[in-house]
């Protein structure tokens, strides 16, 4: 049997320890599962490092490890999430995302069909957002020493000369915009995990926003800051923005876009959607004079059709976020303390 089998990997349907050992089985995993989907002129060099030319402006560099469970969820999987998340982390700094690395930790026994499905999703997400997977690494750990698959994506992009988008740039009077509904990603994960099948219409919003953001920067060239409200949700992100710029932020509760099914599931589970992770949304802080122009561009985009102006930057209560409720009262939107939703991304 073995003699008639030209390639050892063909004997395996699951990840083996040897696939991470840097020997022939590692090469064959690369050749069979990774390269057919991820091949491109940079990665194909297969040196110890990718090489490419700089573009004008400054370099942006970011990293994120994805440990989401379940690995496959309504609206995506860990693969496209890992690409979109890092693309967005570059884009919200005003950078044009260009090159991503992919570092895999695989659990012995992971079905190769699952790995291939994930890698294919990464390749598709990379193509959609116009980035290149430039380098990679694969480690395998024994069964029980990680949970199926963890993926680190780091990213390199270029910030055009003269562009200054930063969380320290907020000014009193700025408008705060949100590109769409909140809590979709986190509630999709959570309702899947909890087996709340009647909520199954909730889909993750996982998406790369660099195309939309590039268009907004044309329409609102003096845009001050952007952040993607992932872990900790809109609540954590706005608190960080307020603290970084020593300004206050006031939100209109009635202006916050929330899907009915997300609101329902959140109530059922006792969770505030404002603290729930998003993976295809961006918060934008724009001078009031450019707010309407930014909103028009957002709404014209597939990922921004439900965009809204949700609040404003104020001089009062620096470092704090305050919500004006629909009943006319005001409450503080705190930085979430800790973990309501583990392994959401």
């Amino acid at each position: 049997m073995q003699l008639s089998c030209p390639s050892p990997i063909l004997q395996h349907e699951t990840v083996q320890m040897a696939h991470g050992a840097g020997g022939r089985l590692s090469q064959e995993l690369t050749a069979r599962v990774f390269m057919p989907h991820l091949n491109n002129p940079v990665l194909d060099q297969l040196d110890d490092q990718a090489r490419f030319d700089a573009e004008p402006g400054r370099i942006a560099f970011t990293t994120d490890t994805y440990v989401v469970t379940p690995v496959f969820f309504p609206g995506g999987n860990i693969g496209d999430l890992a690409v979109n998340g890092t693309v967005n982390d570059l884009a919200v700094g005003g950078a044009m995302p260009r090159y991503l690395s992919a570092g895999f930790v695989l659990e012995e026994g992971l079905p190769l069909v699952d790995l291939e499905r994930i890698v294919r999703s990464m390749a598709e997400a990379a193509r959609k957002s116009g980035v290149v997977i430039a380098c990679g690494d694969t480690k395998v750990v024994q069964k029980g020493q990680c949970d199926r698959i963890f993926i680190n994506t780091s990213g390199v992009g270029f910030i055009p000369p003269g562009r200054d988008v930063s969380c320290r740039n907020l000014l009193s009077g700025d408008a705060v915009l949100l590109s769409g509904t909140i809590g979709d990603h986190g509630m999709a994960i959570l309702t899947t995990r909890e087996g709340l099948s009647f909520q199954s219409r909730i889909q993750s919003d996982s998406a790369a926003l660099n195309g939309m953001i590039a268009d907004v920067l044309q329409a609102a060239p003096n845009l001050h800051a952007m952040r993607d409200p992932t872990r900790g949700g809109v609540a954590a992100t706005l608190n960080e923005l307020a603290a970084s710029s020593s300004v206050g932020i006031e939100l209109d509760e009635g202006a916050l876009p929330v899907r009915e099914e997300v609101r329902g599931a959140a109530e059922l589970l006792g969770i505030d959607p404002l603290t729930v992770a998003n993976e295809g949304k961006v918060l934008l802080v724009v001078p009031a004079a450019e707010a309407d122009a930014a909103l028009v561009v957002l709404r014209a985009h597939e990922h921004g059709s439900e965009a809204a102006i949700i609040g404003e930057v104020v001089d009062e209560h620096p470092g704090m976020v305050v919500i004006r409720t629909s009943l006319g009262s005001r409450r503080i939107l705190d930085m979430p303390l800790g973990e309501q939703l583990p392994r959401i991304c």
Copy 2:
């Protein structure tokens, strides 16, 4: 009790799920454990992405995830290993390593003193090699869903204009140099795991080689290729070099530097030191005319004192590595098939 405690983290001596949630406890972990050691002007921006200026030449970009067990081993720990390994992956491409990312996956319950010890080692290794930890990310998974700590480091460096160091550059007649003894890292890990205490003199060779490599490039400006022989050891790396350049490589077995205690432990465990991982060694392929100059520079350096010319590039048997044994016979040094030493890095 709780009221008298100003900071929630002070109640914890181990990693909590909430430390990875993107909320206040995440901020406090960053403030207490990460920033005191890793702070620098780039990281201190704490935006979603680091920003820095390009240097002349091409950009080099690499990634590696470290899952070594045990986390602390003779001669180092996962922290300095993660910095040195990625620094070396850039340096062997002829790049000057500059910026590293650090992506942590932490197991709930990891003692914070262990995490801090690892982070301190990363900071020291970064200082020694002259790189900056530019951005980071921390995820926490439940107890039993990873093994203590995994660290991804990705790195960005710059390749000076006109420099071309690549595994596709080998030419017949080139000399093959090795910067020191083989198998030290892998055997240090393995003897520790196997409890072979009489072998305890074996220390990992974990070290950043960018300084030494920069000096060699001065003395041997036409150097063709470099690789650090990590997973799969010298055997895997030389096979990759031979295959990439479609040349043969011949080694002198008698010229291979191996410590006595490594040779002894390897024999005891039935392992060929040529297949064992190194973390502070580099293979260099240099035109014969520059070989002696390169050797002199290597030997003058603390990490190259036992450097040797171990073989040569030949036209014969392209893609294959052949060893001339001390008895005058010849044998093929194969690409290792798979895993003898899991989780070595």
